[in-house]
């Protein structure tokens, strides 16, 4: 067993670290990360985690990074303090990312494996290693580990098979297939042991994750104990990073973005959801289906919502529209390829003034792209998808917590302005696991607008006909659900009269266009400013960072870091992108010395849209499009370089494995 030099510095960093575990898809990486996160959270710590995986079911490399802190955290930083591995590939892909003074847990029996033999490792990486380690003869896992060690990374060989034998002895379990699954818990346990974290929290987490199925949790808890013992015996100094229980206030959740949005929709009144399976949106629908029946406050009956899996996304959007016409709050969720198929349906909802919500979970495009990777590449498409001019609202949430409340806002806008709303989020948000305070549904207000189906009486004057598209001052006509006594109406994708019948009359046409498009102006006037955008940081900043969506966490933290020192930075998070809050943006940009737009796509779509709406050309565009989220450090460094006057006009961020 290779020896270990323990030169841990005097300073012990407590309750602040970033941990990574990797392994083949389907080998339980997810479960490990879950156990790890939950164990931290149960100890009162705050976590944020992100899963990275291939568009594959079993065998390709996946990894999970979890950041732990004593305070709330919203984004990941670069590099890890601890890398827990049990296969070769994880070492090969991530050894470089472990920070000085950090540690790598690995299986010493794999140390001699050749990197060239890892089947799932990209040729590009192998070629780079061949070049980089050309002095070293055959490149093995040890070559890489030694390299890390040279940089000051501590190596922790953990003999998995020995430990598994121990477990086997204690539990009587002999089946390799069952024992094999426990490497996950061993890796997590080894990590916690090094961090001197309380075994209790780990065990309680194991219990929870295995959902009380004792047959599974008991042996795993034994594996945890065995590992703790081994680690205490062999690496009792642990690592310079330590975790310990802290006190918490209030109830907290550990969940991901799919779940948050599902819960937000549910609370916000969703009753009809359609979907066609697609990564990373489908989990939202599956979650909703699981909870299709729920209790209702001051009602004796159960509430329920219906989730329909359709034959494609064209069906999903049009079926959701049908649901909305019947009067249910209806939505669908999808990702790029499916969203592309919805263009026509969304246009129909636009001309027929139907409130329907589409939650678009962006993933790396174009086309099939990288289905399990991250990007914010659908913004312009969300704004301008569909032929002809019709109104829709595009709302972008900046983090998991926002996305919960925004799910209801999306419905409110849809019903108040009677139009389709695109709630645009992304893969990073969907697959972020985070601790958050309990959501407060009472902070939501449900605004159904001029909808006469939810208690509001529908009355027609004697001899009057119901006109679904009646011209009114505000441009909004009272809406009734299909089946309302006296409320027969017509819809058509053609231009139509107030009754909803086809017309090609140029005068009515002009009025209808004004009616429909005017609602965007109305929305911009009525929607509260803090739903439109958030402003953070210094007034009259030297540098204003403009962004949208899930970059928020990284930017906020980077800004805080920069503002501690020299920088005077402001951050404008645009939430309402159509209608675009041009006046506010102009005011804020003009209050700043320079402005940079940071986002996860190639062209800088928000920067373009900002120019379009304000005439203001961004001084800097910071973009990233390799499929991996922008880290705090990337945000920090790129902004710092701008502040220092050292930045190019267009900066491409490239971190990520």
């Amino acid at each position: 067993m290779p020896g270990r030099d323990l030169h841990i510095g005097d300073i012990v960093i407590e309750n602040r670290l970033q941990w990574c575990i990797g392994g083949a898809q389907g080998s339980g990486v997810d479960t490990s990360a879950n156990i790890f996160s939950r164990a931290c959270a149960e100890g009162g710590l705050w976590v944020v985690g992100k899963r990275e995986y291939y568009s594959n079911i079993k065998g390709e490399h996946s990894y999970f990074v979890v950041r732990v802190d004593r305070n709330r955290v919203d984004a990941l930083t670069e590099g890890f303090d601890v890398l827990a591995t049990f296969d070769e590939e994880t070492v090969a892909r991530h050894f470089d990312e472990v920070r000085k003074d950090g540690g790598i847990i690995y299986d010493p029996s794999l140390a001699s494996k050749k990197v060239a033999d890892i089947p799932t490792l990209d040729k590009r990486i192998k070629d780079e290693f061949a070049e980089r380690f050309r002095q070293s003869g055959t490149i093995t896992i040890m070559t890489l580990l030694e390299d890390a060690k040279k940089r000051g990374v501590h190596l922790f060989p953990v003999p998995y098979s020995t430990l598994l034998s121990g477990v086997s002895a204690k539990t009587g379990e002999k089946r390799q297939s069952v024992l094999g699954r426990m490497v996950n818990v061993i890796a997590v346990s080894a990590s916690f042991a090094l961090m001197h974290y309380n075994l209790n929290e780990l065990e309680s987490s194991i219990d929870h994750v295995f959902g009380g199925r004792k047959k599974l949790s008991e042996p795993n808890k034994i594996a945890a104990e065995v590992t703790y013992e081994y680690m205490a015996g062999n690496f009792k100094d642990g690592l310079g990073y330590q975790l310990s229980r802290v006190a918490t206030e209030g109830k907290r959740l550990l969940l991901n973005g799919n779940q948050a949005i599902a819960l937000g929709k549910l609370a916000g009144g969703l009753r009809f959801q359609t979907y066609y399976p697609i990564t990373p949106a489908a989990d939202e629908s599956t979650y909703l289906e699981r909870y299709e029946r729920f209790s209702v406050k001051d009602g004796d009956k159960k509430g329920s919502l219906m989730v329909v899996q359709t034959e494609d996304e064209i069906s999903a959007i049009t079926m959701a529209i049908g649901g909305a016409l019947s009067g249910a709050r209806s939505s669908t969720c999808t990702s790029g390829p499916g969203f592309s198929l919805m263009s026509e349906g969304i246009g129909w909802a636009g001309i027929n003034e139907v409130p329907v919500v589409v939650t678009n979970y962006q993933r790396a495009g174009p086309s099939t792209g990288m289905p399990t990777r991250h990007e914010q590449g659908d913004l312009k498409f969300a704004l301008y998808g569909g032929h002809g001019d019709f109104p829709k609202i595009v709302l972008a949430s900046g983090d998991v917590e926002e996305s919960f409340y925004d799910a209801n806002l999306a419905f409110n806008y849809a019903e108040r302005y009677q139009l389709p709303v695109i709630h645009i989020v992304d893969k990073a948000m969907a697959n972020t696991t985070i601790t958050l305070p309990y959501f407060d549904p009472d902070r939501m207000t449900i605004d159904r607008g001029l909808f006469l189906g939810d208690g509001t009486p529908f009355v027609l004057k004697e001899g009057e006909e119901y006109e679904r598209f009646k011209f009114t001052e505000s441009g909004i006509s009272p809406r009734v659900p299909i089946g309302t006594p006296g409320g027969i109406f017509w819809n058509t994708g053609d231009e139509h009269t107030e009754l909803g019948h086809i017309t090609e009359d140029p005068v009515i046409r002009d009025r209808m266009m004004d009616k429909r498009m005017g609602k965007l102006d109305l929305a911009l006037k009525e929607i509260p400013e803090d739903e439109q955008y958030h402003y953070f940081g210094a007034e009259n900043p030297d540098l204003l960072v403009v962004s949208w969506g899930s970059t928020k966490g990284s930017i906020l933290e980077a800004m805080a870091r920069l503002n501690q020192h020299s920088g005077k930075i402001g951050f404008l998070q645009i939430r309402l992108i159509r209608p675009y809050p041009a006046q506010a943006v102009i005011r804020l940009v003009k209050s700043a010395h320079k402005f940079a737009v940071m986002e996860m796509n190639y062209v800088g779509q928000l920067a373009d849209i900002t120019a379009e709406n304000t005439g203001l050309l961004a001084d800097y565009r910071i973009v990233k499009f390799n499929g991996r989220p922008i880290t705090v450090d990337e945000a920090y460094v790129s902004l710092k370089r701008i502040v220092e006057g050292k930045s190019e006009k267009r900066v491409v961020l490239t971190h990520g494995a």
Partner: protein, 322 residues
């Protein structure tokens, strides 16, 4: 108050071509609805795009004129959100079997309780007469430059293969028969499909009214025309599935297919296949959600008087709590 057919008409100017079979279908639909005496508000007609799809504007119940090929999913959303509505879907053969074929097939699988009527005229009427999926291989209707290069689909067989539980054919100019079919289709518990042979005098000069009526085939000795269209009922055909009674779905379907392939000299109309043994989508849902019919999606309250959410998500949050 009993409804009259006049109650079913709107003031919208009807702009179909003179002699169009759509008029017959419109009358049949209106008569069926009037006959059934449902509240007008409880019915909704959902259509695709095409000449046929304009039917909704001429009919005085709620009318949703949707997108080309998409009436089925729109209608499914309407119906599942409020299963108390009486939903009738209409559209062209291009709409339903060309661009809409994917929904057609998958619509059968769901067996949602509604009626789908396809106006089968062999052409794309509204875009000026291109071949529709039911036009036979090698036929050359007026607008075609070359004989049709694609084989036709048999809507009846396709419907059975797709799972529709009521499959029938009507003829646009046999209004009383068609009306009956429509009523049966509406009353049928599950996804009902009626293929309606619809002459398009403007573009389909092959399958014309005269042709269906057999005016080219005079009885020998200079008698009457011998219509091509005959009714299945008149020949004692009974398409009802009754497994206990010894007529299982497979048996009936094979009989039905034998009829469905008839064309040319003998063209059957009537109910080919009628299977009420398969639960509807709504019934399947009801198994999971006992309150579904009472409080379907569209009829639930979602907020209280203070406009606050009433769905209680606390138990779900508790599951996620740390």
């Amino acid at each position: 108050m009993a409804l009259k057919m006049a109650d079913m008409k709107t003031e919208m100017h009807n702009d179909w071509c003179p002699g169009c079979g759509d008029f017959g279908i419109l009358s049949s639909v209106q008569m069926a609805l009037a006959d059934m005496n449902l509240n007008r508000e409880d019915s909704v007609i959902v259509s695709g795009i095409g000449c046929s799809a304009k039917l909704v504007h001429y009919t005085n119940v709620t009318g949703i004129h949707t997108l080309h090929g998409r009436p089925l999913p729109f209608a499914t959303g309407v119906k599942l959100s409020n299963p108390h509505l009486n939903v009738v879907v209409v559209g062209g053969d291009g709409d339903g079997l060309g661009i809409g074929a994917g929904h057609f097939v998958n619509g059968g699988r769901r067996n949602v309780d509604m009626l789908y009527i396809v106006h089968d005229n062999g052409v794309y009427g509204l875009t000026k007469g291109q071949a529709s999926p039911t036009l036979k291989l090698g036929e050359k209707t007026k607008s075609l430059i070359f004989p049709n290069i694609t084989s036709s689909i048999n809507p009846l067989i396709l419907a059975m293969a797709s799972g529709y539980t009521f499959v029938a054919r009507g003829y646009a100019f046999n209004v009383s028969h068609l009306k009956k079919l429509i009523k049966m289709g509406i009353e049928h518990k599950g996804a009902a499909f009626i293929d309606v042979l619809q002459p398009c005098p403007t573009y389909n000069d092959i399958n014309s009214k005269e042709w269906y009526n057999g005016e080219d085939r005079m009885e020998e000795g200079g008698g009457k025309a011998m219509p091509r269209v005959y009714s299945l009922e008149s020949e004692g055909y009974d398409g009802r599935v009754n497994t206990e009674g010894g007529k299982d779905a497979e048996t009936v379907m094979l009989d039905a297919i034998r009829r469905a392939v008839e064309w040319g000299d003998r063209i059957p109309i009537g109910v080919l296949y009628n299977n009420e043994e398969i639960p509807t989508y709504e019934e399947r849902m009801l198994q999971r959600m006992p309150e579904y019919m009472e409080l379907p999606p569209a009829r639930q309250r979602i907020s209280d008087s203070r406009k606050k959410p009433i769905a209680d998500i606390t138990p779900f949050m508790d599951e996620l709590s740390v």
